[in-house]
């Protein structure tokens, strides 16, 4: 498997810069993982019982602001221990190492980024580390692929990751599992960097699986509560379904293209027939992997449940980085996707449906984190619409801005939950600290969080000049532009012409944008505006979180507000340099994007573009105005007094009963088949009955037959002897 770029390695201009230290990038978090992991194991022997069933739980909960979690289940437990336990004995060094390695990684990434800006890069920089799998035809090296796309992801992962690590220092400060938490978080960043820097699909897959593992570990971080452990398992199992698709795609690549190298596949994909079965199959199976990891229909159900983990984890893994891996993968494999218009249409259609579907659920959720979770699913749908229609830059752009504003929203909600939990803890109340019906009027108590979360809300709603406006608009404009004169418009999906599909996708995108504005405004109104519903006794205890938590929020607030300047559209060329990200990513995806648009840049006339932008702005403003007009935070009652929802609201609140449907359609039949056919039929019947007991029976039967020869009568033996002698003599005689 020859890597086409390998030959340039020696002469590559980046080899002379700090970029040659790129291998250090993943190693830094790995080092942090090793140190924190060792400290966690050392500490576990002394602090807290290792057995989670005794004691650990009450520590996790009873320590005030450390264990801000498991709200529905709080009530079921006895909180006898309300003392304030001392911080973990290694908390100091962990607070230094955990975020420290991320700061170092971010600084290194920035240095490499500026080095990349400084040189003329004709080819991606490929660094071969060691020979990984030399097996027969497959000669796989562990390589790092450094190009503008992976660099963008590295900047997002290390930058947002660093801020979230710092936030975690405050959020998790009193948790007895403090070092374990940072060990997992560092390990996650390590695998995430492997994912984005991996130079071949198998290496990418290693990162892909690794982040899945860390996601599982962190969702179930407070595993002593069954609901949390179950949520972790659900995420892990649902992701396995997607991984099956990824694996099949890799097998197909190797069988048809003869290589698993990312650059090699991109190179060979060019020679595939346009719209052929091979490219379509590879692309669709890859996308199956994406639906698992990036929570798209039909595999999205794990992401809302993943909110059982600590809130910074939700921000880092389940909003900003890991769940966007699918979008990254589609952009990475854009060479294959651009050869398969049907697969592209599928991606865009599934993305639009997910965006719409999740947004409707988000309208009626009461748990602040659940609102954000469905919002994430919805926004991921947008990203897939972007990369699906071949607007890879727009998809990655939305990925980046979404990382900023969604991380901000999650961390902001974390800071709200932190305050709520602290207030409830001070008064020994076990009410739900995540339910928006128990909040309200928090703007007076936490003004910084309030301002910053409004910035993020305006960004996600698409108010002009905030980051989300640019990226979301770019995606919608790209969809509109491709309804004519693109390979997509000429293809068809399930008999529907491609341009019709794209119009539907565009329409769903607009409706989802409207609902996004509504549910985000609803969340803000119920959380921060109106009267406070927390409770008389709790109110004085509501306060802003410490600076270690609000600091990262401020940085993210700046990014969420101004992130749009990464890629200013030509229409608004007056406010800054046009298309920064577009030029930056052009060497990676430019050619593939052009293939979808038949070689022409997807241009809309200025007037069309103005109409589109105007529509988008109108929709965002309308959504916010509608929410402000219709929703009356003053009329809301606390959770314990709230009546049950009815009609369509009940359906939405229960997420269309999709989980129940999956349970009845897939889980229960699987369990029934496992129990009755596989266990009682196959295991007990065939394996135990036929093989285990059957072989014993067979041996006994042979033994019985042998024993029958042993009569003990001398006469029999004599006869046998005689017959034997005669046989031998006869054989010698008549030979």
């Amino acid at each position: 498997m020859m890597n086409p770029a390998m030959t340039f390695e020696g002469a590559h201009p980046l080899a002379a810069t700090i970029a040659r230290l790129v291998w250090l990038l993943p190693l830094l978090p790995l080092l942090g993982f090793l140190i924190n992991g060792a400290l966690a194991m050392l500490g576990a022997a002394k602090i807290g019982p290792a057995d989670p069933s005794e004691g650990h739980h009450s520590e996790g909960h009873g320590n005030g602001h450390g264990g801000v979690h498991g709200h529905e289940h709080d009530d079921a437990h006895d909180h006898a221990d309300h003392g304030h336990p001392p911080r973990h004995k290694f908390a100091g060094i962990v607070s230094l190492v955990g975020p420290g390695v991320l700061v170092a990684a971010f600084l290194l990434a920035s240095a490499i980024f500026f080095a990349m800006r400084g040189v003329e890069m004709e080819h991606p920089y490929v660094l071969t580390l060691f020979s990984w799998m030399p097996v027969g035809d497959l000669n796989l090296n562990a390589t790092i692929l450094l190009d503008p796309l992976s660099m963008t992801m590295v900047m997002v992962v290390t930058g947002v990751g660093m801020l979230i690590h710092i936030f975690s220092v405050g959020y998790m400060q009193d948790d007895p599992g403090y070092p374990r938490y940072f060990a997992y978080l560092n390990l996650f960043v390590f695998f995430m960097l492997i994912l984005v820097l991996g130079g071949s699909y198998p290496l990418l897959f290693v990162g892909w699986e690794g982040v899945g593992l860390c996601s599982y570990l962190l969702i179930g971080f407070w595993f002593s509560e069954k609901a949390n452990a179950d949520a972790g398992k659900k995420a892990f199992i649902v992701n396995r379904i997607g991984d099956f698709g990824f694996l099949v795609a890799m097998f197909l690549m190797f069988a048809n293209l003869g290589t698993l190298d990312i650059l090699g596949v991109a190179d060979k994909a060019k020679d595939l027939p346009m719209g052929g079965a091979v490219a379509t199959a590879i692309a669709l199976f890859l996308f199956l992997g994406c639906t698992g990891k990036s929570a798209q229909i039909p595999l999205y159900t794990w992401l809302p449940d993943a909110m059982a983990g600590p809130t910074p984890v939700s921000a880092l893994i389940h909003a900003a980085t890991m769940v966007t891996a699918g979008v990254y993968l589609v952009a990475r494999a854009s060479g294959v996707f651009s050869m398969a218009p049907v697969a592209q249409l599928t991606v865009a259609a599934v993305g639009a449906l997910t965006a719409f579907f999740a947004a409707t659920i988000g309208l009626k959720q009461w748990d602040i984190k659940k609102v954000l979770a469905y919002s994430t699913v919805s926004q991921l749908g947008y990203m897939f619409v972007g990369v699906g229609v071949g607007a890879y830059v727009a998809g990655i752009f939305h990925l980046a801005t979404h990382a900023f504003f969604k991380a901000l929203l999650f961390l902001g909600s974390g800071s709200v939950i932190y305050a709520m939990h602290k207030a409830y803890h001070a008064t020994h109340n076990h009410d739900d600290a995540q339910d928006m019906r128990n909040m309200g009027g928090l703007r007076h108590h936490m003004p910084i969080t309030f301002c910053l979360m409004w910035i993020a809300t305006l960004a996600i709603a698409g108010i002009p000049l905030f980051s989300g406006f640019f990226s979301k608009d770019e995606i919608l404009a790209a969809v509109f532009a491709r309804t004519h004169g693109s390979t997509l418009a000429e293809a068809s999906l399930l008999g529907i012409p491609g341009s019709t599909v794209l119009f539907i996708v565009y329409g769903l995108g607009l409706v989802s944008a409207l609902m996004t504005a509504i549910y985000m405004t609803r969340m803000m109104l119920y959380t921060f505006h109106g009267p406070n519903r927390t409770g008389e006794a709790e109110r004085p205890h509501l306060a802003e979180a410490p600076w270690v938590m609000t600091g990262p929020l401020v940085v993210l607030g700046i990014l969420a507000a101004f992130g749009g300047w990464l890629n200013v559209p030509a229409l608004l060329g007056a406010i800054g340099p046009v298309g920064g990200l577009e030029h930056w990513l052009e060497p990676v995806v430019g050619e593939n994007a052009l293939r979808t648009t038949l070689g022409e840049a997807a241009h809309l006339s200025h007037s069309t573009e103005l109409v589109l932008v105007g529509t988008a702005i109108a929709i965002a403003v309308a959504g916010i105005a509608f929410a402000v007009w219709r929703l009356k935070p003053a009329a809301l009652v606390a959770k314990k007094d709230a009546p049950a929802a009815e009609g369509i609201a009940r359906v939405l609140e229960n997420k269309y009963f999709v989980d129940e449907g999956y349970d009845a359609a897939i889980v229960q039949p699987t369990v029934a088949v496992s129990r009755n056919v596989l266990w009682k039929g196959f295991d007990a019947g065939v394996i135990d009955g036929l093989f285990v007991n059957g072989s014993a029976l067979l041996a006994r039967a042979f033994g019985w037959m042998g024993s029958q020869l042993q009569t003990g009568h001398l006469g029999t033996y004599a006869w046998v002897l005689l017959i034997g002698v005669l046989t031998i003599l006869g054989a010698f005689t008549y030979r």
């Binding site: 042998g706 020869l709 042993q710 009569t711 003990g712 009568h713 006469g715 004599a718 006869w719 005689l722």
Partner: protein, 97 residues
């Protein structure tokens, strides 16, 4: 002369074999075994006219071994009789599997 001697030897041997196979009394079987031994002795002696005296030497060996065997065998039969009060081999099947 040789042919007759060998024929007699074969007849004696066959009688011994049939006795061993058909009789049930241990003593009689024992005697039949002796008969077989002596049939072989007869053929040794007869064939020594052709192949020299070594056949006759073997007969002496055989008779010595047969005497020892008779002593041991009879002792075993007496021991069995003391144990199970019979020498009928039909009733003695301790080796049955």
């Amino acid at each position: 002369m040789l042919a007759e001697a060998l024929a007699l030897s074969a007849v004696l041997f066959a009688i011994g074999v049939i006795g061993v196979l058909t009789r049930r009394n241990a003593i009689i079987i024992f005697m039949c075994v002796e008969l077989m031994l002596n049939a072989v002795n007869l053929s040794f002696v007869a064939l020594s006219t052709l192949y020299g005296a070594s056949g006759q030497v073997f007969v002496v060996f055989t008779m010595t071994v047969a005497a020892a065997e008779a002593a041991v065998g009879l002792a075993i039969i007496i021991a069995i009789f003391r144990h199970v009060k019979t020498v009928n081999l039909q009733n003695i099947n301790l080796l049955k599997g």
